[in-house]
Symmetry: C2
């Protein structure tokens, strides 16, 4: 048990209010909440698990009375350490996992009202019964409140947008315990400042998202996929532009693997059904997915896929190496084995970057050239969502390449981010967000005017600076 | 000439900086800027017309030095009086009309960088050369900066979203003259508070939008339309749900006219080609538009339209009165003649409301019943964008129905808005925004928590409260 918890009058109050099972103080009980999925590790005063928004409000009011800092945690699937406690042992970790009862679907409105602790998979299971889905497609199974606080993106962002574009209303609890219900179902409501935007992608800095109203989409009736070998980076962008203009909005994913990422994946996932010849890999492999709610008798989706590729082949034959139409489940299987394959190959530095997508080819070439000269031991294994300018710009090197992997990681992070942000007007965090893991880059790259606005909001919502892990106004010196 | 301008040292400074033609002080020169399109009338100290963002910044810095209030004005097409000066004669009106040079299109990125004073029509003319368009479809021709500050919607919002969903970056000038360039082209950039959101739909309360980066769309290759007669309000929603689920994302407009609006329009626009029998009008007439970038050899769009209607007819024959496929230009002509026809019929109170769209039928019936009993002289001529829950809930009565039309307007406004906001969780301003015309409703309906956040931002950006016409923290008592 954290000794501070044993003597904390606040913990006693919380136990009285919520019952013992709702307040975890034992080391073993806290452990799963204290360490992040990829980054983030600390020690919590306790983990509190309220069962309703009203209870969240009570917890925050009590924490405010006692001056105790609070950090919200959802499914703990974030990749920047924002949901884990810091090292002080003084933060109360507020888990939303029990806020998972309400999933109210309105099929005509095409909206759903959900509690913040509902998981994405639970939401989609409920929606499927109405022929609907929430179109944020991720490798993890986060909770909705965390998704709002992170503004998660995923592989179908180019078609449907991120959480921000699919969010109509929020319920939040402010640091002083005020519950604000703005669970609007309105698609249109042009009445000034859009309140919900303050809580999207701000990681609980201003309040805790306890509920959301989401726009949802009809499930596709047809989905087709193909892997396409492409000979150069610019050709990938040309192919993307063609699909966007010729496929009638059916393009739902456009995922790209560089040759090195592909090489490693097919070597380590050797049993995987995949179309490429390992001895002759293209510069880039592209997974194209089209999907539609049109019945096959109205639209032959395979014909859209093949005619678009044929047209490209006719006009720019040298750009395409090969085309492999495949069943979606098989095609995606290759895509989903990249990260684990890279990890088997060596030390991996995963960089979640974005550039204006028209500049992706130029960025990729420049970065490769720079790294080949400065760090020849590093392989560039980039893959990702070129359709929306996002790339998992992953760098891999052998375990024995250096004695100090941590130092090399920092050096490479700085090098790549500087190029992305300063030379390509890009982002050092395309979709993972901001947390302790990358706070120092936030501090370095964020314009002063933005930090100053964030400071004004922080001062307004949380003058004692007790909530969250992310100082959006910059880390105090 | 406004006498205050003759003696103002600031005006002198502005003339020296920008030249005489850039500072309009004569009554006749100011007149066109002082009166709004539908509401809004006042008197400006002068109208200043800078030619660049840098000049806007200089003007705001000079106004700050002199403590002079400033209001931005775009194309003056807004409908809530927000771009016109107040009655004091002391406000400097800052017109963005000369910031209209830059339209930089990136076809692969599918983005465009524009100056704030570029008009929507100029933008679309430039985009058309690349087979692209900006999908905000309006009856007016506003400037881009004003569109951002208003978050304009329009008839294709159900497909493409409002300005907010199509905006990637902004350039703003803050009240103290600081120019902040966040002209990002990034689709993904999850690095904390989304700065641009503070300037979308906030009507220049926090800063003046001098530039924007917009996402743009490929122009459709096919468009088909039909007018559909529908027997009851709920059937309109059922038909909408069917099109959304069965038309593969091709639905690009779903406009609805009530029988009274239709009756008046076809009587006053008698030469209009229109399909309905005036002696036997359906309860609602629906304009359905489908459009796609797919070539006709891949998708027969007429077949999608007709098969969807046929399926509806088979399952719910009693819901549909009649179906009239028509050429888009002809079909839209009827839709575009509504407002002017209503004005010819009598006194019009135009109410721009939204409700959760699944509740539109219930709202419409309840409101009609209430008005029939309380105000039998009033005809409900509602029409609008049911696809996104928006309705121009227009009320029409004879000129001789009352001696005091202004009083009746206020009474009806209050009655309808109260029902919309309090009973149907709706909005008193779906797309027109907030301005002096409806500020008192903003004051009445906006939650305190939201006003308090707006106050914190106002205090941060504009502590002297010199910018804009809209007190988002509520009108001071």
């Amino acid at each position: 048990m954290n000794p501070a918890a044993a003597t904390s009058p606040m913990i006693e109050t919380l136990v009285q209010l919520l019952g013992e099972g709702a307040v975890l103080t034992a080391d073993a009980d806290r452990a799963g909440y204290e360490k992040g999925w990829r980054y983030g590790e600390g020690r919590a005063l306790a983990v509190v698990r309220p069962r309703s928004s009203a209870e969240v409000a009570r917890v925050l009011a009590i924490a405010a009375e006692h001056g105790v800092p609070v950090n919200p945690i959802g499914a703990n699937t974030g990749l920047v350490g924002a949901s884990n406690p810091d090292a002080t042992g003084e933060q109360l970790l507020l888990s939303l996992e029990r806020l998972s009862k309400r999933i109210v679907i309105d099929p005509v409105d095409r909206t759903v009202r959900v509690d913040g602790g509902v998981t994405l998979s639970a939401l989609n299971a409920a929606l499927a019964e109405h022929g609907l889905f929430f179109p944020i497609d991720l490798g993890a199974d986060p909770q909705i409140g965390g998704m709002v606080a992170t503004n998660t993106g995923g592989t179908r962002l180019l078609r449907y947008g991120a959480v921000r574009e699919n969010l109509l209303g929020v319920e939040v609890v402010l640091p002083d315990g005020t519950l604000v219900d703005r669970m609007s179902q309105l698609v249109k409501d042009n009445t000034g400042l859009d309140w919900k935007q303050l809580f999207v992608g701000t990681f609980g800095s201003f309040g805790i998202v306890t509920g959301a109203v989401l726009k949802v989409q009809p499930l596709p009736k047809q989905t087709v996929t193909a892997w396409v070998g492409v000979n150069q980076a610019q050709a990938v962008l040309n192919l993307l532009a063609r699909f966007e203009r010729a496929s009638g909005g059916t393009l739902s994913a456009f995922e790209v693997l560089s040759a090195d990422a592909l090489d490693i994946t097919i070597r380590h996932a050797a049993n995987l059904e995949q179309p490429f010849d390992a001895s002759e890999l293209p510069a880039y492999a592209v997974l194209v997915e089209l999907s539609t709610t049109l019945e096959a008798e109205l639209l032959d989706l395979d014909a859209v896929l093949l005619s678009t590729l044929e047209a490209h082949f006719e006009e720019a034959e040298d750009e395409l190496a090969d085309v492999f139409p495949m069943a979606p489940a098989v095609a995606w299987n290759l895509r989903h084995h990249i990260s684990e394959s890279l990890a088997l190959e060596g030390v991996v530095l995963a960089l979640d970057i974005a550039v204006p997508r028209a500049r992706m080819a130029a960025f990729s070439a420049a970065m490769r050239a720079q790294l080949a000269s400065s760090h020849p031991q590093v392989r560039v294994c980039d893959f990702g969502h070129w359709g929306d300018g996002g790339s998992h710009f992953n760098l891999v090197w052998p375990q024995d390449a250096t004695d100090d992997h941590a130092a090399l990681k920092l050096e490479l992070q700085q090098l790549v981010y500087d190029t992305v942000v300063r030379d390509y007007a890009g982002s050092y965090s395309a979709e993972h967000g901001v947390g302790p893991h990358n706070q120092r880059f936030y501090d370095a790259y964020t314009p002063d005017a933005l930090k100053a606005a964030a400071r004004a909001l922080k001062q307004h919502f949380d003058p004692d600076r007790r909530l969250g892990r992310v100082p959006l106004d910059g880390t105090p010196e």
